[in-house]
Symmetry: C2
Subunit: 316 residues, 2 copies
DNA sequence: AAGCTTCATAGCAATGAGTTATGTTATGTC
DNA sequence: GACATAACATAACTCATTGCTATGAAGCTT
């Protein structure tokens, strides 16, 4: 004897509400509908579910037992609806985000932590890659969004790029670096110090070479390379080496008194940090929500940076 | 967003079976049916449930979450089916049985106990009444079956009466009663002893008067009346009074060495103990099962009584 | 690259669930 | 005891959904 779960749900509603009419309204149906359903059920299972000829409708033992199951079904249905609701509101799902390593570690991971505080049901799958690889992964559909520096004027067709921060770099050092005391700081003061080199495939590497050329440092010493941000930060803190990092990364680290930046104005590349997405990809609610959150956080960050700039850092 | 519980069940089946086809067969449906259902669901909730273009069908996170609810629904449905199954097999339900007090207490209650050992899910609602009241309750539908002594030749129309034991009475006494030692036992020996009288409305009361007349006891002393079988048994055990009881009741009590019967052959009324039911009443499975069980137990009892009779009791 | 398995789609019939309108039946009140 | 009322039952009809078979399309396997 196979029973339609909807019927069990109806039974439960009738028993709980104490009447056909109330049960029907509780289910959003009309009274005749549930009445007929009950009649059909009774005929089908060959047993009465409610005592006949009793006006405060009194359920049979069998009916009570079935109502217990019906309640379970009703509960499961409600939580299923809630699940779909939270999914559609973007509070549940998966977001696969990729980005350049230093930027992801230095800025985006904090934003992710903040996001997950509000939406713990959203799973974030993070991966590291540079622009070309990010694009191919977006194209293959194995990534939902990417955060990386790109030239806004040269975005390939089919992609959408939303700049969030200027792609400005700074020369980073530990917070006790001797050069921080030097006023004024001359470029020749910088020359003696060794450098940390970002990975050769990283855009930062190119940036560093460019910066060093720009400030006239021709023969520089590389004392470390190949580490991720955590290693770089440690080494910067505990020695007097220098490196080139995105300003936003140093800005975030400055808050925890882990890194500092030299007051040297260096040219910035023709790139902006931004969010790269595939244009015709279906945007799942969690992705949309996450993207908006990231954008909002970046706006805040940009604001903070601008205030800070006006106050202290770049006064010449 | 309201979801059809059957759809959730389908999702669960697909996820658990690892494929559309297997899920479909597990549900007893065809593959195109569930395929279309899934497509409709995906469109309705606006989210994919399975990754597109993957042949070992891989469910979405959302789908997994919904499948959990679907499993609950499936489980509830299965137990509901089982409930109906046990109901239809007569292993669940209510049986309302009524009968004459002494007979219910002395014989039927033991049978009920035995029945409930095998079918604990069947609730027995027992009540006490005499024939006329039993009939009216059967007629009103507040009783499912009655056990009482009746004349099988005079059953009102609309009722069905199935005799299960001859309506034989005996003179009952405690197991240490002096008369049990007397061989041969003469009727004049009985005269001095006092009697317990059944309720005046009871058929046993008439029987007792009849029996006493029959054996020539004209002026007898009533020492107790109005008690139920438990009281009667106690008083019989602890004093030398006598009473008239159905043979089957004394037979059952004899097993526990609580009562005995005098070896006096007395006439028996034109009544049989039997099961009285209303003819056109719908017979619920549990009632049918219980009735058959009672009949079978009574057959066994009749057999036992017959054997016992041939051996010892009524040898003259 | 071919073959096999599995999923998707189409067209059609039938069941079932929804609706409104209306009848029936308990229950409470005078 | 008759009437009013509220709740349940029934009727007639519409429409969404599911069932089926047949067939196309797409991955995975060898």
């Amino acid at each position: 004897m196979k029973l339609d779960p909807r019927h069990l749900e109806i039974i439960a509603a009738i028993v709980d509400q104490g009447g056909l009419t109330e049960g029907a309204t509780a289910l959003g149906r009309t009274q005749p509908s549930v009445s007929r359903t009950v009649a059909m059920l009774e005929q089908r299972i060959g047993a009465p579910l409610f005592e006949k000829g009793r006006r405060p409708l009194v359920p049979t033992e069998l009916c009570q037992a079935l109502a217990v199951e019906g309640r379970k079904i009703g509960g499961a249905g409600k939580t299923a609806s809630a699940i779909v609701g939270t999914y559609k509101a973007g509070h549940r799902g998966i977001v696969r985000i990729g980005g350049t390593p230093v930027f992801m570690d230095g800025v985006v991971s904090s934003i992710i932590a903040e996001f997950q505080r509000a939406s713990p049901q959203v799973r974030i799958e993070q991966s590291y890659a540079y622009a070309a690889e990010l694009m191919s992964q977006l194209d293959a559909g194995t990534l939902d969004l990417a955060v990386c520096p790109l030239n806004p004027a040269a975005i390939p067709a089919g992609f959408s790029f939303q700049p969030v921060l200027p792609g400005r770099n700074v020369i980073a050092c530990g917070i006790n670096h001797p050069l921080l005391m030097k006023r004024p700081l001359r470029l020749t003061d910088i020359a003696p110090y060794a450098w940390i080199a970002p990975p050769a495939s990283s855009p930062l590497y190119q940036d560093m070479r460019h910066v060093l050329g720009e400030i006239g440092v021709t023969d520089f010493k590389i004392s470390f390379s190949g580490g991720s941000l955590a290693s770089i930060t440690n080494i910067l803190s505990q020695s007097d080496v220098l490196t080139v990092l995105p300003y936003s990364v140093v800005f975030m680290a400055r808050r925890q008194k882990m890194l500092a930046a030299l007051s040297v104005r260096i040219g910035h590349p023709e790139r902006s940090l931004g969010i790269l997405t595939k244009r015709d990809m279906e945007v799942r609610p969690a992705i949309r929500r996450f993207k908006r959150f990231v954008e909002s956080e970046f706006r805040n960050l940009a604001q903070l940076i601008m205030q800070q700039e006006q106050n202290s850092l770049w006064r010449s």
